[in-house]
């Protein structure tokens, strides 16, 4: 009888512990969700405050390449002024090749005509060092401006090609 009571108590204790553990896990999950949601709000607030729509300009980069170009670094110049530069880790370069899009630059710009130049460094065809500069002009109006640089493999020329697109 005594053993039975002890076993019952042990089972009860284990049950309570399992319930407590489950409740704690749920609370931790809730906190994580809350932190993600707060981080999103912070990000949106930051963008609204620091980069208002009337002056906002964003530059994105994506790659559909891999055979003729492997990115190592990029420098971005706006109106001949360096505004962003990035050295890529292997993971970042892989993430780009797999379909990721990198927000290369987010900043403010006055209305009017502007020139954007991107300098790319990497490994080109035949595993040789490859450097390339590409430029485009665009007009900034009162709405947010977004440009995307696409890097593609050009099989006909066996070279990478760099294209600008206004989004």
């Amino acid at each position: 009888m005594k053993q039975f009571c002890l076993s019952l108590m042990l089972l009860f204790t284990l049950g309570v512990q399992a319930q407590e553990s489950s409740a704690l896990n749920t609370q931790i999950e809730d906190l994580k969700k809350q932190v993600i949601s707060l981080n999103r709000d912070l990000y949106l607030l930051e963008e609204d405050l620091l980069f208002p729509a009337s002056t906002q300009v964003a530059v994105y980069l994506d790659m559909d390449a891999g055979q003729y170009f492997r990115i190592d670094a990029v420098e971005l110049h706006l109106d001949d002024k360096l505004v962003a530069s990035h050295l890529y880790t292997q993971r970042q370069a892989n993430a780009l090749v797999r379909g990721g899009v990198q927000k290369l630059y987010l900043g403010n710009l006055a209305r009017g005509e502007h020139k954007l130049t991107a300098y790319f460094v990497g490994i080109g065809p035949h595993q040789r060092e490859y450097k390339r500069a590409v430029s485009t002009s665009f007009t900034k109006q009162d709405d947010p401006k977004a440009l995307q640089i696409h890097i593609r493999d050009d099989a006909s020329k066996q070279q990478p090609e760099f294209l600008f697109e206004e989004l």
Binding site: L24, Y43, L45, R91, G99
Partner: protein, 638 residues
């Protein structure tokens, strides 16, 4: 392993929905950019932002499934489960459904809900498995086999690739199951068969590089290193288990051979050394056993088996008929156990300090192995405990969340300062505008322009060419008018006034003629200038509108401040929750560690008692021997 399945599933979905991520809005691509780097928190945040901006199709399966997988990887299991279940109602492609069911089963297995995992897998038909890619099939069969083994069912292991690590795990679990059932011979045969297969890191099957779809490979060199280490550790455990089983069958030499295969720097080394000593002792090779146990006794303790070493050394001495050395070893052992017990008691006090586990959590976050100065060797057995590992992971997550909250609070302070500065400069601008009366300038200019338009219309209506003369022409016209007025005043006194008047008329005629000639072009130029003035005024009007808008925006400062206040209270609440949960979690970890320390202390006390009893026994035996010798000596003297 999970990550790879997820990537494959994602790619399958991407292919089925047609189109690269780069063809989607940048928001989606940004999610993928973070996801493919393994930044789950950032990817989830980007996903939330993209959804908030309505950049993602809410009915599309791809973002929802990615959210589910990211949630799972970030430890949001209930959210992941809900998403997968919801998607299963919408997906109509059988292979995709099968892949999601496998994912769901994987989730349940991780949560330890084996029944739910089995139920999820029953929804995957064999013919659907054939439609999945090799990695997904591998995962499916691994889950099926693993669940069967955990349910106590023997399975056929042959469908797994020969060198796959998953196969080795399953096989090992099968051997353990056979050993538990008392089928020791079968377990030995299975382990021996496994250990003939040499690890091959270049073709490690389940953990090998993913196929051709990634030119650079998903795993980095570091990860390859981890997998190779994992394989080697598994081999060590297999050799140790084989040794134990062989020893239980009385095959001591075979057991020794197995123990010798365990690496010197393995987590199983000390257990293997102790067992090796016992196997040698069983064979009567006490000298060998002694040297191994002495070596073990000199090493810092990483496994609880090692606590036995000092006693074992004394035992070996005794068996080698060296009672003095045995007594010395036992005295040393007793002192050693007392020292360890004191250290454990000190450890129990330190355990309840809030930062006790901090260095370990940090090395865990960095993915490093745990050196002895980070976590006390006596607590090392906790590292192999699933619940403790889960708690450490949760503690690390909570601490990261805390860091993010702290960073966010700093950002908010900075934003508040920014808004203050902007509000101040906006106020100054407003005051400057009011002072300079700049805002009234444009209406005045507009009035002037309207006057010019009226003049031009009148001129055009009256065909008054002279009105359109340029500045020189107007000056000449004025001079002619003046000359005419003066002539009229002195006409009576001038004898040749007529000729002067004729000259003036002629000059006026010439001027009029020139004006008539230039009338059309002058009128056109006037209209053109007016038009240019119009566009300038329109542009000015637009700018003025922007200025008014900007001035209106001052009212948004309050809205922005309200957002900051809301966010700050949310963050402070999260901070409090985090602290409360961290305290709870720490209390549980401390409790688990304390239980281990108490058990270890009890074990050490038992060893110390054994040592003390053995000391008494040996002293007693020595005394009896001396007493047995003395009478003989006395007889000799007599």
């Amino acid at each position: 392993m999970n990550m790879r399945l997820v990537v494959i599933l994602l790619l399958a979905i991407a292919q089925s929905s047609g189109g690269r991520a780069a063809d989607q809005p940048p928001g989606w691509g940004e999610v993928l950019y973070e996801y493919f780097q393994g930044n789950h928190f950032e990817a989830l945040t980007q996903l939330e932002i993209a959804a908030h901006r309505q950049q993602l199709d809410p009915s599309a399966a791809q973002p929802a499934l990615l959210r589910g997988r990211l949630s799972m990887q970030f430890g949001l299991y209930s959210q992941a489960e809900a998403i997968f279940k919801q998607q299963l109602d919408h997906l109509d492609k059988p292979t995709l459904q099968a892949a999601v069911y496998i994912q769901l089963a994987n989730l349940y297995e991780q949560l330890g809900d084996l029944e739910a995992a089995r139920t999820a897998l029953t929804n995957v038909a064999e013919n659907q498995v054939a439609g999945l890619n090799a990695e997904q099939q591998d995962k499916y069969w691994y889950l099926v086999a693993s669940l069967q083994i955990q349910g106590g069912t023997l399975i056929d292991i042959r469908r797994f690739p020969v060198n796959a690590l998953s196969r080795e795990y399953l096989n090992y679990n099968l051997a353990m199951m056979e050993a538990d059932r008392g089928e020791t011979q079968n377990a030995v045969a299975r382990l021996q068969s496994m250990l003939k297969v040499r690890p091959n890191s270049e073709d490690a099957g389940f953990f090998s590089r993913v196929g051709d779809w990634v030119s650079g490979g998903w795993f980095s060199a570091d990860e390859q290193q981890i997998n190779t280490e994992e394989q080697a550790s598994l081999k060590d455990r297999q050799w140790l288990t084989l040794g134990y089983l062989l020893q239980s069958l009385g095959r001591h030499q075979d057991a020794i051979n197995a123990y010798q295969q365990v690496r010197q720097d393995s987590v199983d080394t000390q257990a293997a050394m102790l067992a090796w000593g016992w196997a040698a002792a069983e064979r009567g090779e006490f000298q060998l056993a002694l040297s191994i146990w002495q070596l073990l006794a000199q090493q810092p303790v990483y496994q609880h088996e090692s606590y036995e070493a000092p006693l074992a050394v004394a035992y070996a001495y005794e068996k080698l008929n060296a009672p003095r050395q045995a007594l010395t070893a036992l005295n040393q052992a007793s002192r050693q156990y007392s020292e360890w017990i004191n250290r454990l008691q000190a450890e129990r006090v330190q355990l309840y300090q809030s930062d006790f586990f901090q260095p370990y959590v940090q090395t865990w976050q960095q993915g490093q192995s745990t050196p002895e100065d980070v976590l006390s060797p006596v607590l090392m057995p906790l590292l192999t405990d699933d619940l403790f590992s889960q708690q450490v992971a949760q503690l690390a997550d909570l601490q990261q969340a805390d860091q993010r909250v702290l960073y966010a609070l700093q950002q908010l302070t900075m934003f508040e300062q920014l808004i203050d500065e902007r509000q101040q400069s906006a106020q100054q601008r407003g005051e400057a505008l009011a002072h300079n009366n700049l805002l009234q300038t444009l209406p005045t200019l507009q009035q002037q322009r309207d006057g010019l338009q009226t003049q031009l219309d009148t001129v055009e209506h009256q065909q008054d060419a002279l009105a359109l003369l340029n500045d020189d022409g107007q000056a000449l016209l004025q001079r002619i008018g003046k000359a005419d007025t003066r002539l009229s005043a002195i006409e009576q006194q001038m004898p040749d006034a007529d000729s002067y008047r004729a000259r003036i008329r002629r000059l006026h005629g010439i001027l009029l003629w020139q004006a008539e000639v230039d009338y059309a072009s002058n009128l056109w130029a006037g209209k053109r200038n007016l038009q240019a003035l119009d566009s300038l005024l329109a542009s000015g009007q637009t700018r003025l509108g922007s200025i008014y808008q900007a001035m209106d925006r001052r009212a948004h400062f309050d809205a922005q401040r309200a957002r900051i206040t809301g966010l700050r209270s949310g963050l402070l609440l999260a901070q409090q929750t985090q602290q409360r949960l961290q305290d709870k979690l720490l209390a549980r970890m401390q409790q688990a560690a304390d239980v281990l320390l108490i058990e270890t202390e009890q074990q050490l006390q038992r060893y110390r008692r054994q040592a003390q009893i053995a000391i008494v026994r040996l002293q007693d035996e020595t005394l009896r021997k001396q007493q047995a010798i003395k009478p003989e000596g006395a007889r000799d003297e007599g």
